[in-house]
Amino acid sequence: MRILELIGGNEDIGRGPLFWLPFALVVAAFLAAPAWLTEFEAYNISFYLLNIPMALGLCLLWGYCGVLSFGQVAYFGIAGYTYGIVAGNLVGLSWGPLAGSLAGLAAAAAVAAVFGYFVFYARVQMWIVPILTLVLTLLLETFLGQTAGYQWRVGSVQLGGYNGMTGIPSFQLGSHVFFGFSFFYYVLVLVLACYLGCRMLVNASWGKVLLAIREDALRTEILGYDIRFRQWATFVLAAVLAGVSGLLYVQWGNYITPTQVGLLQAALPVIWVAVGGRDKLLAVIFGTYALNWLNYSLSSQGNQYALVIIGGLLVAVMLFFPRGIVVSIAEFLSPRRRRSA
């Protein structure tokens, strides 16, 4: 009962049966989708979906806690590479991919914990966090880019420099290897779990404290909350969520390159979150899915304006819909607004 109460709370878009009924229908449609999709289409949709946990993490961090990070792709990359190294060295063992996944998440969390300690416990001004996370991302890309050659290998896995790491094993539970439609379901379940988990978090008292920090950090601190710890913990949680996306990405494509942690990739999560609406989890899901679809459609036609269009979209949204497109639409449609008008 308590769980339902938390999921249904009002710190995200949508309450009551009028929302949950369509929500259940959409989920059901996704569950039934393999009936009419080709395996290739399911593969593409898996890709749009697998970016959602990273976006949710950034949404918690930026929208709910007021801390912007440009470095989520760094944790994405750390988790992906760690999974590749661990699972790649345990090929043939049925528990290898699971151990790799846990190691990947642990690595992302550990880097974020150390980095976050220096940043949040110093109580730096809020513009410093995005800058330093961006620098971390750039350094990681440079480092991974120069790991070409035989001396850069861990066990039997080569890091591969700019060509990236290839032949990363798919995810496996027992004897079942996830690919095709079963991978689609695996992603769907994980994404849904991440969303509902985040929704519970923001409706719990922990989430209310995050909102209080975003609104007025000093006041929250005077009320007796350790804001440094709260910000640090949210930062680590966001890194773990980015790590989930990183794991799903390498399990989806079986490869990863340093470009995945580059400057252009680093911009994407921020764009998904800003365009959707940073202070609502569901809006971020819509934004992430739609923009991934848009980006894929544009760039698969070889359209070199893809980045210009996406950048232009970001500038336009920041200028005209500072709260995000989906949030603005939701506000316009919400019954509460009509009543007050």
Binding site: G66, Q125, W127, I128, L134, L307, G311, L314, V315, M318
Partner: protein, 319 residues
């Protein structure tokens, strides 16, 4: 760079009548100093435009790298049309400065007081600029040959151009100091920085000050890009390589005092980077920059310039 001519001969002359060993030692010292100076000059050039804008307006311009790229492109095009190199650099300053003023009028001015919003919107601008340049002008530009030539001390060879850059940096710092402390615009700018509402009440046109400051910062970025253009390959995404050094310098320097922050931070970081870069390699030099930045902000969260500012104010109060 005509300035370097006067600098070089005394060093060589001084080594002329030493023994072989003294010559070697002098060469090592000269080499270390040269490395230190060029690293500091590089960091300062990367960060100057950024820190001018941050210090005045509390806006982080993430399109900074792309403004440097535009400066490099402007200078290259001007140079290809037959202009002398120094005039191409001035062209880059003016052109990117005007571009910055337009950018401020159209976009940036709506984000005053919203730091994170400004960060995100300037990032969108940087994507458009980099990819737009790629689409319009293609992936490559012909390089500008490094002017100034080389000379040798002992077994080490030095680039006259980089020595010239150190001099240019010193001149830039002096010019900025003069602008802020000896002109009416500088006075208005400092007043706006301290208390914008009060400055406006006293008749300072703060709106114009903000536009001029952003334009100046953009122009400085363009000029730095033009000055660094001969030392690197010129392509649409070249701005990325300046992002890490520029932002680390700014974070360490802080925004409390533009000139003191930029100068002290680039000197200190060069002190950290030079030995590591010399012994281990350029990449680890940059890693050490990030580590140093993390440790410094853990100790002084608002940057060295704030510490200097506090120290100066304490001195003033005692007097």
């Amino acid at each position: 760079m005509g300035l370097t001519g006067g600098l070089v001969p005394p060093v060589i002359a001084a080594t002329g009548f030493g023994g072989e060993r003294a010559m070697d030692e002098l060469a090592v010292i000269a080499s270390v100093l040269y490395q230190f100076g060029t690293n500091a000059a590089f960091l300062l050039l990367c960060a100057l435009g950024l820190i001018v804008i941050l210090g005045m307006m509390n806006i982080i311009n993430l399109a900074h790298g792309e403004l440097m790229m535009l400066g490099a492109y402007t200078a290259t095009i001007a140079y290809q049309r037959g202009m002398p190199f120094w005039l191409s650099v001035v062209c880059a300053f003016v052109a990117v400065g005007i571009f910055g003023a337009i950018l401020e009028r159209l976009v940036v001015r709506r984000f005053y007081g919203r730091e994170l919003g400004a960060l995100v919107v300037t990032w969108g601008i940087s994507l458009i600029l980099a990819q737009g340049t790629l689409v319009l002008l293609g992936p490559f530009m012909p390089a500008i040959p490094i002017p100034g030539g080389n000379f040798a001390v002992g077994q080490y060879s030095f680039s006259g151009y980089w020595i010239g850059m150190i001099v240019v940096c010193a001149a830039l710092i002096a010019a900025l100091w003069w602008l802020y402390n000896r002109t009416e615009i500088g006075l208005h700018a400092r007043a706006t920085m301290q208390n914008a509402t009060m400055a406006r009440a006293l008749g300072v046109n703060t709106d114009r000050i903000y536009m001029l400051t952003f334009s100046l910062g953009a122009g400085l970025a363009g000029m730095s890009g033009a000055l660094l253009a001969p030392t690197t390959s010129i392509q649409p995404f070249m701005g990325q390589q300046f992002v890490a050094p520029a932002f680390i310098t700014v974070v360490v320097g802080g925004a409390a005092n533009v000139i003191a922050g930029a100068l002290s931070s680039s000197l200190l970081l060069s002190l950290v980077k030079t030995p590591v870069g010399f012994l281990v390699g350029a990449f680890w030099g940059t890693v050490v920059l990030l580590l140093a930045a993390l440790i410094i902000i853990r100790l002084i969260p608002d940057g060295i310039s704030a510490a200097i500012q506090r120290w100066l104010e304490r001195g003033a109060r005692v007097r």
